[in-house]
Symmetry: C3
Subunit: 443 residues, 3 copies
């Protein structure tokens, strides 16, 4: 299925992720700006927005900007026993500035480790609280000896701004498809960088198309507060126009495919995702919205109600390396990224062709007269004729292409060519509206 | 689960049933009045209504009143071989007066016994027919020797009235919840007395509440004709106001829980009952309306269409002692009564809180700012946070509390406290109407 | 179940099929006219229509008429190695006239046989193409020796007409039930003649009724082009009036029952067919519309949307003798025809009684007062009382008789007598309209 050309997309994405891995992303700060600057090299039209600290967004306020110059813990003989420069997970996210000497006992109250995964550094944040802390592997923690430790946290937590990226690709129709991914996790690969790089590859492909039916809204923003800020600025138009959307996250490893529905699970995004997964990765793991954890929490919240779902590989919270230093470049792969990319791309291709079709003739048309049907009756049953006739039989102006494909027991993707031939022969036409109306809303 | 206090409700109910057991209830008569007088001691506001014989009620007419002074069969040596004073089941219900001497052969045509249950006296009635008869155990029947028997049936069947009790407990809303139980079976415990005593305990609890959301209509009336008479006098207001109702019957033993739906099985009464049973007694036996047999036959009849279901312990017709002298105080128990009482009480508690809730903020609110959410991200998954967030995520103004609880996979009862906290924090509000509208009607 | 009289219907149908078997039916021609003339003897009012070659019908055109005088292949010593007069399947349908001498090698390009079924003559047609050909058994084909063969195809393919038969039986209501069967296969028994003879027997029975509720439209026409021509002349009135219809095909053998739904499978025809099959032949094989192959392809096409289904015995394409000389009078039987006839007749009987019924009294009526209910309570549970009471309990003016029967877990056919008694006693009435509206449309 994958061609040489397509495999190279996987490799490209993996290379981008490798470049982006060391940057110290958080809710705000220089690491986020550097990430967006890198992505803008891939996506020339990407616009970068700064939202000042203190700005209100629904129930939330944009926090102070956080930047790290240095952070370490030094023992009595001058060894840095914890050093943020070695791995930016070592510093608890949004740690306030601090310099001082503390006993091991006091230091322990600021440390986080994982006794059950002793060689992994955990990922911990402490937003909105005025704390500081360090994360280390449990084995390193146990090796700390009694004594006085010098703690240096050279961070700045001060008014600044939250940064997000946005790419709007206009289509023939005003109706929009949303791709949203987040940039706020430092140095983690499946749960985070797979999302931005797959989204960037899809955006680049969409940009390359000679024509697009739909308008695409592509968003790179910090999780939760970033999505909330973005919604607070764009909700009315998004509610009016969005027919389907996807949170792109955890799309990098090779272990499985996963699906997270919208709140009610019946939107067009849910329908196309389930349909494509059923045909491309039938053993995918279907989660319920009760196991949500990313920005569908905002996009599908009551009153926001956008039709947003997620197609993932190993889902956040469900793979052993999640939120630790082990979620690194070794657990994602070019083929893992490629697989998720291809399935999302198929979803978009199906949506682009997802019209309601209607036969233009009463009764079956005479296919033989058009060279679309063999005349010897013994050959009637051939699969391609059957499929063409099934499309015609169900093209009754009621369901969209996804429904039609489900009704005739095949994949919508595989119908695209047939539908093209039937449109060209004038045997079917497109019907306005109902499919889109049916797909709208997260409910 | 059951506290000392609550256990004593079970014991109280059992004591009431013990007191009421010997009274000779039927469609009409002194036994029914004595039963209602006893219940009025427990429920001070209970009003007692008399409906004269000959009154029309839909397709029916209130029959003559039936009272028994004495009834026996005496053998040639003056022994009372059947004596109504020993067990009022011995006399066929509504037997007409008779005095005379009959041969054993003729007597046999008036006797009822159960060859397959030889030591049980069956319960037989002959309403609307002008018959007389006796019920005895099959073993006693077989012991009768040839000879002439003196039959004395000192009954009065004459114009009088049918008696029923009614308690209306006003609530903040005009919408009503119906509890209906019957008083027409003499000396039987599960199938009958469990119903009036559980209903009385629930009514006493409702009376004790500082405030009630709904109005409660509580009815003690003979089965079939009593329910029909009651409906003929109250149907318009009941159709307008009843959002849910329960026939309380067979709620006394410890063997199982059972459920009888309304005709279409989709009313609010059905929904709350199934929901509470699923969480409190998941192995309950679900019957269909085709196995109905009590006053849901009237409440759910076409055109009446009230939303009435039944939660039972061992259902009428389905336990071996049914309609015999073996359905006595030994097969019901304080804990059996208590269990049914508690489940019905939970149904009423859930209904009192069964609003449609809607989140007041777009996107997730910032829980940490309100002390409702821990700030360290590693603790997010704690069950109580998850439950609170799930309630918020599904509080979208579409479904009532029962639906919401089903959607998030928990019991509505357990959500009541969470909902209270969220209301207090101003994070959700109540939406008017839809849940009630949805619940109306037996269809 | 089958009475002597009814068995004789099976025998009659078998005799008719025997008479019709040798006629050389095709899309057009003398064999079709002879078939219709025979059927008119059974159905006096049958009108026979001729539609000229060249007439347009939706995307199609009525072809030239095809008649065969003689057709054979003769070897060098004057033996007719293939002779249409022995079996009219030998000649490919619509073969153009030809006379000439050909080598075996050239002859082979015009021969059709079945290597996997070496003693069967296949059935092949070549409509709309200007070909000629012969069908023989594979064993006979292999026996042909090298040499020159004399081919004589004495056919006439020239402007004429397409012939169909139509019988309209008026009813009390304008709403119509369609029975459609096809006459275009020469000398095949299950897949074809079973259809016309079962249809003729049903039509004769409908004609014999003292009164019919519905109007019946009964059509005998060539498959595909005949159905399309018929629709092109009658569609508006059929769309307006047809509440249910059946394509009668493959109704002659004893092996199984089969069901082919309409396109959406939810029409009244589908409902009554599935209901009757569930009670009469519960192990029937349910096909989907994706396995369609007869005139439901036209009746259920988009825009035509008639509520047409098929009840069959062994379905076309699914029995080994299909479209070969082995589909002859030995694979159908009087009992096979009778069984299909009886099930279709039951469908029509149920439809004639398929009103929406509604109870006329609130609450249960007093059955004992009307002699419809025993007074001794111990006998209440008897099956007939329960069924009568169930019909009353569900006669709420919402569903038709089929729905009501499904709700109470019994067959609609078995309810017809009960419903008659309840109508007579004035306990239920008929409600106008909804059931019919619900049944309309193939969707």
């Amino acid at each position: 299925m994958t061609t040489c050309h397509e495999l190279s997309v996987g490799e490209e994405m993996y290379r981008w992720a490798t470049d982006l891995f060391p940057l110290n992303r958080s809710l705000t700060g220089a690491g986020n700006r550097a990430t967006l600057a890198y992505l803008r090299q891939i996506l020339p039209g990407l616009s970068i927005h700064e939202v000042p600290s203190g700005t209100s967004a629904f129930d939330w306020t944009v926090p102070d900007e956080w930047n790290v110059t240095d952070a370490y813990v030094m023992d009595e003989i001058g060894r840095k026993v914890i050093d943020w420069k070695r791995n930016n997970l070592h510093l608890v996210g949004y740690s306030v500035p601090f310099q001082g000497s503390v006993s091991l006992e006091e230091l322990q109250t600021h440390l986080h480790s994982l006794p059950n995964d002793p060689d992994a550094i955990p990922y911990v944040t402490s937003y909105y609280r005025g704390n500081w802390g360090f994360c280390i592997s449990d084995q390193d923690r146990k090796a700390l000896s009694d004594g006085i430790y010098r703690v240096v946290i050279d961070t700045i937590l001060a008014p600044g701004s939250l940064t997000y990226g946005e790419l709007l690709l206009p289509g023939e129709e005003k109706q929009e498809i949303l791709l949203s991914t987040y940039i706020c996790h430092p140095s983690m690969a499946n749960n985070e960088l797979s999302g931005p790089v797959v989204t960037a590859a899809l955006a680049r492909w969409l940009q390359s198309l000679p024509a697009r039916r739909f308008t695409y809204r592509i968003v790179f923003t910090p999780e939760t507060i970033g999505a909330i800020v973005y919604l607070s600025r764009n909700l009315p138009i998004m509610k009016e126009r969005t027919i389907a959307g996807f949170v792109v996250t955890c799309v990098g490893d090779d272990r499985c495919y996963s699906f997270m529905p919208s709140r009610r699970g019946q939107s067009l995004a849910d329908r196309v995702a389930r349909h494509v997964l059923k045909h491309s990765a039938p053993d995918y793991k279907a989660y319920t919205f009760l196991e949500r954890g990313s920005d569908e929490r905002q996009y599908c919240s009551p009153g926001v109600d956008l039709p947003v779902a997620s197609i993932m590989r190993s889902k956040y919270n469900k793979f052993p390396e999640y939120h630790t230093s082990k979620d690194n470049m070794t657990i994602i792969s070019p083929s893992g990224l490629q697989g998720a990319h291809d399935i999302l791309k198929t979803c978009l291709e199906v949506l682009e062709h997802n019209y309601v079709y209607k036969a233009t003739y009463l009764c079956e048309p005479q296919m033989s007269r058009r060279g679309l049907y063999p005349t010897l009756s013994r050959n009637n049953a051939e699969a391609w004729v059957r499929k063409m006739m099934n499309i015609l039989a169900y093209a009754d102006g009621t369901g969209d292409l996804i429904t039609l494909a489900d009704e005739i027991g095949t994949s919508a993707k595989s119908c695209i060519d047939y539908v093209g031939q039937l449109l060209e022969a004038g045997l079917i036409g497109k019907v306005d509206g109902p499919a889109m109306a049916a797909g709208q809303g997260a409910k």
